[in-house]
């Protein structure tokens, strides 16, 4: 069987769309189903024979999550802590990455870089008790600062290495000419490296943001006060004492996903281009 070039192309694109569709269903169906569950009235949610669509859609679950629970408070906390930790990890990451990329001749710098990666190897689970003690002694339990700091610690190593990869691709000549003009290193970073690295920084920032938005174990350990909980930890309040209230839980899930998904649609092109530069060198 010999297919003409054109038929072959058409066949290929049909197959492509087919698989894209399957992949999209795989990605989106859980969210779609969460939404369909959230708009069902209570007695339909637990039907032994669930239907895809309900005949009586209701926003009751959303109303109850938004107005009868601490959800807005958790949301605010998540935003504060996530943004705070993204900014702090970028600040620390940029400096460290610059050192790793440009100043790695100084003794110890490379070791520190490898050490950062090795630190990733220890399971967070067991660090909970010692970390709790440290946070307690620093008086940072139940505080934004405590959460921001601890998220940052776990985001910095990976951000540093992502940015280092990018800095490596920026020709050193650009800096050298600026050095000749008498600029110091800080100035160099701010005026030359940063503007060139916007895509990489955005993608590192997104990484940190996703990490922070999702963080559960640390927040759970450090926060006891309900008014300080983030979305990931607060969502457990919708799992009731007597029953799991799936309708409300799914409404909360949708409300958690929507904002970060919107943020993403706007900046995803940066993410791709940011990663490109950092990773092609491998």
């Amino acid at each position: 069987m010999h297919l003409s070039r054109k038929t072959k192309k058409r066949l290929l694109s049909t197959v492509t769309y087919f698989f894209l569709l399957i992949a999209s269903i795989y990605s989106l169906f859980p969210i779609f189903w969460a939404f369909l569950t959230a708009i069902k009235p209570a007695d339909e949610v637990r039907s032994p024979t669930p239907t895809l669509f309900t005949a009586n859609p209701t926003l009751e679950n959303f109303r109850s999550v938004l107005f009868e629970t601490q959800f807005p408070r958790y949301f605010l906390n998540s935003v504060i802590v996530s943004v705070g930790s993204v900014l702090l990890s970028i600040f620390i990451g940029v400096l460290a990455a610059y050192a790793l990329s440009r100043l790695s001749k100084s003794p110890g710098v490379k070791t520190l870089g490898v050490g950062m990666l090795l630190a990733q190897m220890v399971p967070v689970v067991l660090l909970m008790i010692p970390l709790y003690r440290i946070m307690m002694n620093l008086g940072l339990l139940d505080s934004y600062t405590g959460l921001i700091i601890s998220y940052t610690v776990f985001a910095v190593p990976i951000i540093t290495w992502m940015l280092k990869g990018f800095f490596d691709t920026i020709p050193i000549e650009i800096e050298e000419s600026a050095m000749l003009d008498g600029c110091n290193k800080f100035y160099l970073i701010v005026r030359i490296m940063l503007p060139l690295s916007v895509p990489a920084i955005v993608s590192a920032g997104i990484y940190a943001l996703v990490h922070a938005w999702s963080e559960f174990v640390l927040t759970f350990t450090f926060v006891s006060d309900d008014s300080m909980r983030t979305l990931s930890t607060g969502v457990f309040n919708f799992m009731g004492l007597w029953i799991v209230d799936w309708g409300r839980l799914m409404a909360a899930a949708i409300l958690i996903i929507i904002p970060i998904a919107i943020v993403f649609t706007f900046i995803q092109k940066y993410l791709v281009s940011g990663l490109t530069a950092g990773s092609t060198k491998g």
């Binding site: 694109s13 492509t16 698989f19 894209l20 992949a23 999209s24 990605s27 989106l28 969210i31 189903w33 620390i92 400096l95 460290a96 050192a99 100043l103 100084s106 710098v109 520190l112 050490g115 630190a119 190897m121 220890v122 399971p123 967070v124 067991l126 660090l127 909970m128 010692p130 970390l131 440290i134 700091i149 610690v153 910095v156 190593p157 290193k185 996703v210 938005w213 999702s214 174990v217 979305l231 990931s232 930890t233 969502v235 457990f236 799992m239 839980l249 899930a253 958690i256 996903i257 970060i260 998904a261 993403f264 649609t265 791709v272 281009s273 940011g274 990663l275 490109t276 990773s279 491998g282």
Partner: protein, 297 residues
């Protein structure tokens, strides 16, 4: 000394914030864990911890459950990373085609990654529920199943289901990373190969795949570590059950520390986890080097 300072101060100043953070909040607790692994430390027995040398390690390794945990960790880690790699690479290649609605498809595929783990776990638990879960209902309607399956609650399917959910949440990071690299590949190179008579698979194998090597190494190494140490996914989905079928070392550590209060034993398990991970990494890089050496000949 002065010249040394002058030359290197700036490097250290730049590293300082990172170092301070990592020492205070990672190194100190890690050292604490290593030390505790040599002590009998039981929160239920009031009094000073007792130094018992390697006894914790011996106890842990003599427990058959530990080896089940090791096996589960390895299955979970490699199953997840393998699945993520395949799905991630596949979707990246699809998205790299010249298609209409690329922005939509790309957006659709990134979404799972932004869903917080807790939320992802709860949503899938709801879908996989044996009594009201939509997955069973759909599969039964299509006729693939004739009886509902207790996906997370039966020994044979629990691990598979947990891996499936983890792949769902994690593959988009592979997709965007691969896509970023694929977009840098020069179209002319591919066209030239096509003119030389290379088919699709040859083109992929000879031109595209080598370019993905760098990013592959980074993705695989990082995800091996993260998945091996991951706790929240399995905890939310199955808590390590049924019958320890999904109890990985990370879950075992948690249970030992927070349900039985054997802090010393839990520390010993963690130390062994680090050892296993380092072993895994060493093996990986060794294989990598060997392959490269072969390629050079």
């Amino acid at each position: 000394m002065i010249s040394f300072l002058k030359k290197h101060t700036i490097a250290y100043v730049f590293m300082l914030p990172a170092v301070v953070f990592l020492i205070l909040l990672l190194l100190v607790p890690i050292i604490n864990v290593f030390i505790k692994s040599f002590y009998e430390s039981n929160l239920l027995i009031v009094g000073d911890d007792l130094f018992i040398g390697l006894q914790n390690f011996i106890n842990v390794m003599q427990d058959p459950l530990f080896w089940t945990n090791v096996k589960n960790s390895i299955v979970y880690t490699f199953g997840s990373v393998g699945g993520e790699y395949v799905v991630g690479l596949g979707t990246a290649i699809l998205l790299n085609q010249n298609i209409k609605g690329r922005a939509f498809f790309r957006g659709a595929m990134i979404i799972p990654w932004v869903v917080p783990i807790v939320v992802a776990g709860m949503t899938w638990r709801w879908m996989l529920n044996p009594d009201y879960g939509i997955i069973n209902v759909l599969l039964m309607n299509i006729g693939i199943l004739d009886q509902s399956i207790n996906w997370l609650g039966s020994e044979t399917t629990a691990m598979f289901s947990v891996i499936w959910v983890n792949v769902w949440r994690s593959f988009p990071f592979y997709t965007i990373s691969f896509l970023a690299v694929l977009q840098t590949i020069n179209k002319n190179e591919l066209e030239a190969a096509e003119i030389d008579g290379a088919n699709m698979f040859q083109k992929f194998w000879n031109i595209t795949f080598p370019k993905l090597k760098g990013i592959s190494i980074i993705l695989i190494v990082l995800h091996l570590i993260w998945t091996f140490n991951n706790f929240d996914f399995i905890w939310i989905l199955t808590e390590g059950g049924p019958l320890n079928a999904t109890e990985t070392l990370a879950i075992a550590t948690y249970k030992e520390a927070f349900m039985k209060y054997h802090y010393g034993t839990a520390s010993a398990i963690s130390v062994l986890m680090v050892v296993i991970l380092i072993g895994m990494m060493a093996l990986y890089f060794w294989l990598q080097n060997k392959q490269e050496a072969k390629g050079d000949n």
